[in-house]
Each structure stands twice: as structure tokens, then as C-alpha cells.
Amino acid sequence: MNHPEFCERGLAVRVALFITCVNDTLFPGTGRAVVSLLRRLGCEVEFPAAQTCCGQMHVNTGYQAEGVKLARHFGEVFAGYDAVVAPSGSCASMVREQYPRLARAAGVTLTVPKVYDLSEFLVDVLEVTDVGAYFPHRVTYHPTCHSLRGLRVGDKPTKLLEQVRGLELVPLPAADECCGFGGTFAVKNPAISSAMCADKVRNVMDTGAEVLCAADNSCLMHIGGTLKRQRTGVRVMHLAEILARTEADK
């Protein structure tokens, strides 16, 4: 399934937005950015209002029964869509990579809807890297573990950023190292989590960037919370929020 096929059939690309509970509750601006970006690229965006949470927090903290319940609900909500787009590599990887394992471990059958991380959907399905964005700032990119080693999105996010007009992309040293968030790991092992983030923050500072970008607000909440606590002045932005910016937003 890709964009040209849709065009041949004379249809607009119909996308279901899986906002994720974290974005829905804490970062609605990211959701609005995804909607405006996808519409600009000719997609018809739907928001299935029955969605809640993919169950990652429960499953990864050891609450399998609750996780299975949420995974079942997720399957019901998104089963009918050709493409589901999530502005979170971690939640997309939860569905695509972990639902099959969860089903095996719990001995249940689970529907695994076709969920894409935003950068995968843009680059692989819509086949665009230049989304017409404008963002005249010095930016560094943290690839996040589940995008990198779960979904294996590779350099798709940076390919998108490289095409943003005005944007100066600075490579982040030791980019592939975890920031130490890890969901409930951040509060269950706060000393190690903070020690990991200290190194991530040092690497971010070394780039001299104004903005740290990632495709996951959970990791950004962690690194951003530390950047803010340390009064570094570096701000964090989700990939969607940068890609949604155009000259008109100045």
C-alpha cells in the first residue's frame, strides 16, 4: 500500500490518527501538528474517538491482564483502517512488535492493526521527504530506542529534517544511547535513569542546538524535564511540530 495506489484509485489517503494517551493528555499540540501536516499532504485524517491507550505501560510494568484488555480494545478501534499513524515510535512499536509477543505470552489472539510511526508513514507510504516545512533554527535529533531498535526507522526522521528549509541539523553524539526514560523505569530506578539522562543532556549541550527534536514525547518529557530543571535554555519539540511549521507560521 502506498500513495500512488491510492491516487490510481482516485482516493485521498485516509488515515486514522492514533494520538496515544500521553500526547492526548499532555501534548495536544503534537496531535494538532500531525493533523495539519497530514492534511497539507493531501490526507484525510480521522480520529477514532473510542481510542484510549495501547497498553504499553501496563504490559511493560508487568500487568499483563490489564495490558491484554487495552490491546483488545485497541484492535477493535483500529481494525478497519488501512493506515494508522502515531506520533510515537514507542507506541507504534508496542502495537507492531509487542502485540504478537503479548498474544503468545498470554495465550490469546490479538488483532494487530497496521500502525506506522509518523516518519515511516511520510517516507514509506506517502513517499515524501520534503514536506514543505520551514523552521530556521539549529536542531539536533535524538532517535529514541523504540524507533531505532524496535521499528527500525533508520534515518527516515533525519531525512525529513534535512529537507526543512532554514533548519540546521547538528548530529547528536552517542545518539543511539537510551535517555533513561523507559516508562516506569524512570521512577523505579530514578538514580540510573537520571544518570543516563545526565549524559544525554551533556551530549545535547555539546551540539550547541537550540532545539532537541525526537519523534516521541515520552522521551522528550524526560530529557526536556531535565533540560528545564538545569535551566539550559534548550527546548524540546516533537518531529511533527517542526514538520508542520511553514513560512506562513512565522
Binding site: P28, G31, R32, S36, H58
Partner: protein
């Protein structure tokens, strides 16, 4: 070695102390990053690493599925070649067998080749309590033994020590165990190695019993294989009159052809070398030497019965997962309270020992699930998958259970989630900068994000998805 891991507190407490130890942090960072780089280079140069890894996984899976058959084949081959095979169901039985074998020789000292299995069962301590001294001959194990310390890494057990500390240990402790260190010992690696060499040489030449483990056992011929770097293993495996090898039952490979795959996978993954300096192989007993093989279960068959957890038995103890793990790098090996630290320890220890203690229950949580370990593992053990699997088996604290249940109840219906979000938005100005109770773990080092005035779903509702 009188210190043990028994009775250690849970991982988060151990780790909290470890992260504040600047010397430890520096030593670990330097050592893990060095090995990490070496491994990446020698793995990266092989065009067929992915195929080798897949082959290693497939061979181990096949062997584990047919372990009963291959173990009997091995026993028969070892016996045919003049060796004696003993079966040990647990640590106590293995220790008893080894002690009896040593006593039968009339000796009161043994030399040891570095072995994880004998550390797992606490053999040195068991022997010491019965008047038998076990001398470690691997350089790093010697450092740990002289320093009355505990190992903190599978491959490099003294990784937490730097050369200045090692010099101190040699100067103050070597004399108690045998030949003293030279008076004007420097902390040059060459000088330290020379001191150890002289100290150990006398031991090799005078000791009549050796105890080893094995990296691999080949079922078709009954051959045991030890890979090492220092030559101490070769000394122990050839010089003494009696050789006793304690080996976990999962160390089996069906044929020599299978070994070929692992002789590539192991050195590149562990020391970051194309080939290790010494590979010793022996089949049964040679003339004038007695050979005993103690096959150790100690929880392994129980692990084998767990469909998800059993992949941990593919482990070849290379330590690649430790060297890439951001948690291990900052917590160090002792925090894991086991001879198996790091990511593999976090899934192996709670499976071998069970989830009974607070420490063992905390180990599956000693990971951010970043997945670096899985990528580095030469036999493709999906460590994050097993961690999550074990988390589901562990008993959870009551307060956490209540919180997770409440969250599950909210997420169960979209209207409940919407109500919770509106409640949060209404009182967003009242959220303190520092949270109370266990949530303080977040706000101790990190600011909280601002709670928005409107959730995404309410925005979508009110604006018809931004169209109004």
C-alpha cells in the same frame, strides 16, 4: 573469597549507591566503551554476521529441544574416552560431588580455570569450609580473590578496579596467598601481569588437582572446549593429575560442525577479538590423568520448561550485552547481586533462583527496555521480551498495583479518560513542582511538563478536528 551476594538489598538501592561512586563510574565507562568499540569493529567487518547469529540461535534452540538425547550421547562419549560423568541436580549436590572427588585425591588445594558455573554454586566457599583452598588463576579472578571482593562482570570480573587499585591489592595481599608481589611493583599493566605470572607459576607447578568449567561440550565425541586469553587455562587443563569440570547442561553442542559457528561468535562478541589466544579441547582422560565431568542443572531444566524464558539458556556468556547496556555501565555488576550481572543476569538470575527475594524480583526492572542488549547478543536472545515476561510473573507492591488498576480502569473507557483529563486541566495550576511519595522520584531531577488547558480529544470535539 568470603564475601557473598546473599542478603543484598534490591537493585534500585544498590544502584543508587553505585552511581555516586565516581571511581567506579569512571572505571566502568572506560572499560565498557573500550570493549564496545572493539566488538563493534570485529563484528562489523564480517559480511555474514547476521547469518552466523541466526545459525548460533538455531543450533542452540535445536540442542535445547533435544537436550535429553544429546546429554546421554555426551555421557556415553565421555565415559568411552575414559572420563567419569556425574549428574548434579543443584548447587549442593555439585559441591558435594566436587568436594568428595578432591578429598579422594588426598589434596587440600586446587587450581581453578575461570568458570561461571562454579561461581554460581559457590564452590570456592564450600571447599574452603571443608579445608580445601581453591586458587583462582585467571588474572581478573585473582584480583577479585586477593581483594576479598566479588566479581562484577562475566568476562572481566575485576572491571570495577583500575590498575592503581590492582597494584594496591597485589602489594598488600599476594604474600598471604603465596609468592609476594615484587617490592617495587608499579601500576604498569606489564608489571602487574608479570607479578601475577610469577605468583601463579609456582601454583601451576605444585598443584595436583584442577577445577574448570567449559564454554562448550560436543555431544558426538564427548569433547570439552575452553576459550581463554592468558594461558592459565591451558596450564590447569594439562598439568594436574586430576581435572574436574563443572559444566551447565546447556553448554552442549551436537557436533564439531556446530562448534565452528561459536568459535566465530564468541571471541568477537566477548573480547572483541577475531580469535582468542588459547582454545583448549580435550576428550575424556589422557594417560596418567583422571577426568571428571560434573553436569550441573541447578534450575536449568526449570528454565527450559518456560516457553518465553528458555531462550536465556542459549547464552554463551560473552558479556556483549553487559558492555552495551547503559544501566550496567552506570550501576556496575555488584548491584545485580549475582555472578550474572547486566541484562543477561537480569533475566537469568531470577529464573535460576526464582522470584522469591526482593532483590531477584527487582532484577527484571533493572532495564529501560532500550533493546541494545538484544542487538548485541550473538545468539539473538530477546532480552527485553524475557524481562517483560518476568515482570508479569513478579509480585508487585500493593500501592503500585492499586495505581496501575486505577489507570487501567480509566483507560478502559474513552469517556473516563476524557473526564480524568478535564479534571487534570481544571486543577493544572495546583500541581506542585515537587510531587509527593514515590512520584518524587520523577521531580527530584526533572521538571514536570505543563498540563494543557484542553486535551487533544476535547480539542478535536470542539473544533471538529480543527475545521471549525
Amino acid at each position: 573469597m568470603s564475601r557473598t551476594f546473599v542478603g543484598m538489598p534490591a537493585f534500585p538501592r544498590n544502584a543508587t549507591r553505585a552511581v555516586q561512586n565516581s571511581q567506579l563510574r569512571y572505571n566502568l565507562r572506560k572499560a565498557t566503551h573500550t570493549i564496545r568499540g572493539k566488538r563493534a569493529a570485529v563484528v562489523g567487518e564480517l559480511p555474514d554476521w547476521a547469518e552466523l547469529r541466526a545459525a548460533g540461535k538455531a543450533i542452540k534452540d535445536h540442542t535445547l529441544r533435544n537436550l535429553d538425547t544429546y546429554l546421554l550421547q555426551l555421557e556415553e562419549a565421555v565415559t568411552r574416552a575414559g572420563g567419569h560423568v556425574h549428574w548434579a541436580a543443584d548447587a549442593a549436590e555439585a559441591n558435594r560431588i566436587v568436594t568428595d572427588l578432591v578429598r579422594a585425591t588426598g589434596e587440600t588445594s586446587v587450581v581453578k580455570v575461570k568458570s561461571m558455573a562454579t561461581q554460581e554454586i559457590g564452590l570456592n566457599e564450600h571447599l574452603a569450609a571443608r579445608g580445601i583452598t581453591a586458587y583462582e588463576t585467571d588474572l581478573a579472578e585473582l584480583i577479585v580473590q586477593l581483594g576479598d571482593d566479588l566479581p562484577s562482570h562475566i568476562l572481566v570480573p575485576a572491571i570495577h578496579r583500575n590498575r592503581a587499585e590492582i597494584r594496591e591489592i597485589f602489594l598488600s595481599k599476594m604474600a598471604e596467598w603465596g609468592r609476594p608481589a615484587p617490592e617495587r611493583l608499579t601500576d604498569e599493566p606489564r608489571a602487574l601481569a608479570e607479578a601475577a605470572r610469577l605468583h601463579l607459576r609456582e601454583r601451576f607447578l605444585s598443584t595436583k588437582v584442577a577445577i574448570s568449567g567449559a564454554n562448550f561440550m560436543i555431544a558426538e565425541t564427548g569433547t570439552l572446549v575452553v576459550l581463554e586469553s592468558e594461558g592459565n587455562g591451558r596450564m590447569c587443563l594439562t598439568l594436574p593429575e586430576t581435572l574436574i569440570s563443572v559444566v551447565g547442561i546447556e553448554k552442549l553442542l551436537p557436533t564439531w560442525r556446530d562448534l565452528e559457528v561459536f568459535l566465530q561468535l564468541l571471541p568477537r562478541s566477548s573480547t572483541g577479538e577475531r580469535m582468542n589466544p588459547y582454545t583448549s579441547m580435550w576428550t575424556g582422560a589422557v594417560d596418567g590423568q583422571e577426568f571428571h565431568l560434573v553436569l550441573l542443572d541447578n534450575g536449568r531444566t526449570r528454565v527450559l520448561a518456560d516457553e518465553v524464558g528458555r531462550q536465556a539458556l542459549r547464552c554463551i556468556r560473552c558479556s556483549a550485552c553487559l558492555n552495551v547496556c547503559p544501566v550496567y555501565e552506570r550501576a556496575g555488576g555488584h548491584a545485580y547481586g549475582s555472578v550474572y550481572p547486566g541484562p543477561i543476569g537480569a533475566i537469568l538470575t531470577p529464573q535460576l533462583r526464582g522470584l522469591g527475594s526482593e532483590l531477584d524480583r527487582s532484577l527484571p526492572y533493572a532495564s529501560s527496555l532500550c533493546g541494545a542488549c538484544f542487538d548485541a547478543c550473538p545468539v539473538a536472545i530477546d532480552i527485553p521480551e524475557v524481562l517483560v515476561h518476568l515482570r508479569a510473573k513478579a509480585r508487585h507492591a500493593r500501592a503500585e498495583r492499586a495505581g496501575m488498576r486505577a489507570a487501567g480502569w480509566v483507560f478502559d473507557r474513552p469517556e473516563r479518560l476524557a473526564r480524568a483529563q478535564r479534571l487534570g486541566s481544571r486543577f493544572r495550576r495546583l500541581v506542585p513542582r515537587r510531587l509527593p511519595g514515590p512520584l518524587a522520584a520523577w521531580t527530584d531531577t526533572r521538571d514536570l511538563p505543563d498540563i494543557p488547558a484542553t486535551s487533544f480529544r476535547d480539542w478535536w470535539d470542539k473544533t471538529d478536528g480543527g475545521r471549525r
